[in-house]
């Protein structure tokens, strides 16, 4: 039994970047009209890419399936507007590579597939059928990691789940999509959660929210009560990366996911609030993932807001509906400023994992010249994984990958806390990413 004198739920390390959520947190979700064209990558999830089942020239309606899953750890994609398939070719993907994508030119009709309709008998579904529906609706974690939801919901029998955690922490600065979702769609989120609880049957269910969103805590508590859901709604202290799976589990249960392990190794399962809502849609409404809520923000955007946007809409299209860019816009990110991926073009589509489009101004980015490490140790204090980022940085820099592995480079979650506090402006996360890649390559070669 661990002695806890100060029983404030938390985890080691972490940082407190300026939140800047006030840009959008009070703005209700605005529904954007379907764009004239969408680009839908066949891969928007972690796992095998899907195989196209449409051809150029085919007409499609909203919700029509476009791909066959490429395996068990794979989900299909769906048409998000009605129209004609114009091309099936590699297109820029927000993850930085070119990915085979299905380009649909809209007919302006926004006709929905007749299969998208409420299922009055969904309560009769077996757990297997529910998982199947979730897979075929194209669900991949909407928090950003985009791991196929049905796989997460299928723990092997030797790893029973006793604690289900709904993640509404939204610890990334600037982002408010989950916050608004909880305020405006609490009922649907809670229903989706109820469906997941039904197939997992955990002993304990928790909705976790950072305490800078007390309005969401109240709303979710109320919604859970109305739904008759047996769960706790916990307000966690604001600290980045509170919403990271391992840190969240640690803060809520005191359990540490073992190195190289998964939450199910400690009987936990974490799902994002947006994913819960999508589960509700998939199971009860038979509606696949064709849109999502995106926070469009940053001081480089004229009118920051939260929008509900069709998957496959280009960043340019979304930004146009937010008043366009301001002078001095310097960086376009998919995701938040701590973990988001910088885009080289606005011609990339919104995908299932796009929680935000953040355009930072030159003043916000603060580009820095690299100096030598002065061994201040701030990165060691900030690392929520207990690593020594500066040590790993130097090992990777000198290509000493075996030692980098010993120092735990593979345990890095790339949260960016170390580089955020580094007074020397060292590209610590960059080194981590590179080190992880190299170490995994070597491990594969060795096995």
């Amino acid at each position: 039994m661990e002695l806890r004198l100060f029983a404030r739920r938390s985890f080691r390390g972490g940082v407190h970047p300026p939140e800047n959520k006030s840009l959008t947190e009070h703005k209700p979700i605005e529904i954007l009209p379907p764009p004239a064209m969408v680009v839908i990558p066949v891969q928007q999830h972690i796992g095998a890419p899907g195989k196209p089942i449409v051809q150029v020239g085919d007409t499609v309606r909203v919700g029509d399936r476009l791909t066959e899953p490429g395996g068990y750890v794979s989900v299909p994609v769906h048409a998000s507007i009605s129209g004609t398939v114009k091309a099936i070719e590699p297109r820029p993907h927000p993850l930085g590579t070119s990915v085979l994508s299905i380009v649909i030119e809209g007919d302006g009709q926004d006709q929905w597939s007749p299969e998208v309709q409420e299922d009055p008998n969904w309560q009769q579904l077996t757990a297997e059928e529910i998982r199947d529906r979730i897979q075929m609706a194209g669900l991949a974690g909407m928090g950003g990691a985009a791991f196929p939801t049905h796989v997460k919901l299928s723990p092997p029998p030797n790893k029973p789940i006793d604690t289900f955690i709904l993640n509404g922490a939204e610890c990334e600065p600037y982002l408010t999509a989950d916050h608004r979702l909880m305020l405006e769609y609490s009922e649907e989120i809670v229903r989706g959660m109820a469906i997941m609880l039904r197939i997992l049957r955990p002993k304990r269910a928790i909705i976790a929210i950072e305490d800078n969103k007390m309005d969401a805590v109240r709303v979710m508590r109320e919604a859970a009560g109305k739904e008759g859901l047996n769960c706790e709604v916990v307000a966690l202290p604001v600290k980045y990366p509170q919403g990271a799976e391992k840190q969240l589990i640690k803060a809520l249960t005191g359990r540490e996911v073992p190195r190289g392990g998964l939450p199910m190794d400690v009987g936990c399962l974490v799902q994002n609030v947006g994913t819960a809502r999508a589960v509700y849609h998939a199971v009860q409404k038979r509606r696949p993932v064709v849109d999502r809520v995106v926070t469009v923000t940053g001081r480089g955007v004229a009118e920051p807001k939260n929008v509900l946007v069709r998957i496959g809409s280009s960043f340019a299209y979304v930004l146009e509906h937010c008043g366009g860019l301001r002078d001095g816009a310097a960086r376009v990110l998919m995701g938040g400023p701590m973990m988001g991926i910088a885009q080289f073009t606005l011609d990339v589509p919104v995908v299932k994992g796009t929680s935000g489009i953040v355009v930072l101004s030159q003043e916000e980015v603060r580009e820095r010249r690299e100096a030598a490490c002065i061994r201040c140790g701030r990165c060691v204090d900030a690392c929520p994984m207990g690593l020594m980022p500066t040590a790993i940085y130097h090992l990777v820099k000198h290509k000493r990958f075996d030692e980098a592995q010993e120092y735990g480079v593979l345990d890095c979650i790339e949260c960016g806390s170390c580089a955020y506090v580094c007074p020397a402006g060292l590209p610590l996360v960059h080194a981590m990413k590179f080190g992880k890649l190299e170490v995994s390559k070597r491990m594969r070669a060795a096995s």
Partner: protein, 348 residues
Amino acid sequence: MEDKLWKVSTSPHLSDRESIPRIMWLVAASLAPAGIGAVYFFGARAAWTIFLAVASAIATEAAIQKLRGKPITVHDGSAFVTGLLLAYNLPAEVPFWIPIIGSAFAIALGKQIFGGLGYNPMNPALLGRAFLLASWPTHMTIFRTPPRGGTISGIDVETGATPLNLLKQAQDVLHQAKVAPGEVPAQKISEAMMHISKLYESYGNLFWGKVGGCLGETSVFLLLIGAAFLLYKRYIDLRIPVGYIGSVALLTWAFGGSEGLFTGNPLFHVLAGGLVLGAFFMATDMVTSPITPRGKWIFGIGCGVITVIIRLIGGYPEGVSYSILLMNLTVPLLDRYTKPAIFGARKR
């Protein structure tokens, strides 16, 4: 919408407002109260010594960087801090060439020779002091200027010794009397005992700085003002000074007395000499101290143990500089063997 080729970079895309120059200049600012105190206690000569040490440090750094064809980075404040700390480790009446040579040595052979800021294994200022002490011991150990409103020893006796010097002398007399009874005159013994008991009551003078000693080490009060600021800014980690001062207090209490175990005077040992300056401002030097939490504890305690060994057993009244320099050398090893536990490595 107009598109362009946007600049990309790896996450995170934000940073807090901390930078090396900011840290260094704020450390320098935290040392200001003690510097003002030095000028107050020891007069204008102290100001000159400080100025020359700092100027020499900056000039040496700039000159070597120019020779090496590297960008000149004296604006980052690190050479300034080294010069300042070296000056604080000098007696009030050193000739003016001492701070100049000391700082030049500290920067050239203590720092730049290893590649500059971030690469030096030992605290440059302390290395400069050690060099001066070895080369010109007389200049470095003569304390003749009494501080304003006080005496060199901090008590009212006719002697030219600092508190720790006087304590050492008195304890040597007592030790001699014990080893060879009868050979030491009774008057000398009673004088020594009187000195010790008076020294042990001189806390006030030690705390405010009305004692002899190096420029920046005498006033515990002024040093603690700066230390509190550094702690507030989190530029120093409490583990090192707590481990350091705590172990000095414990060990001098246990072994520092002449009447057996736990008869020593820990408070005197903590307040006297350069312990507070060393523990808060030099042992905590980022470049030359460990970066792991456990390493910091071991480092601080190690400094304390060595300081006490030198003070109680060694032939030298002080012990702060050498203890920190010795522990500096253990830092790579400490960091290696005190890695924090990686998340998920220990428990379920």
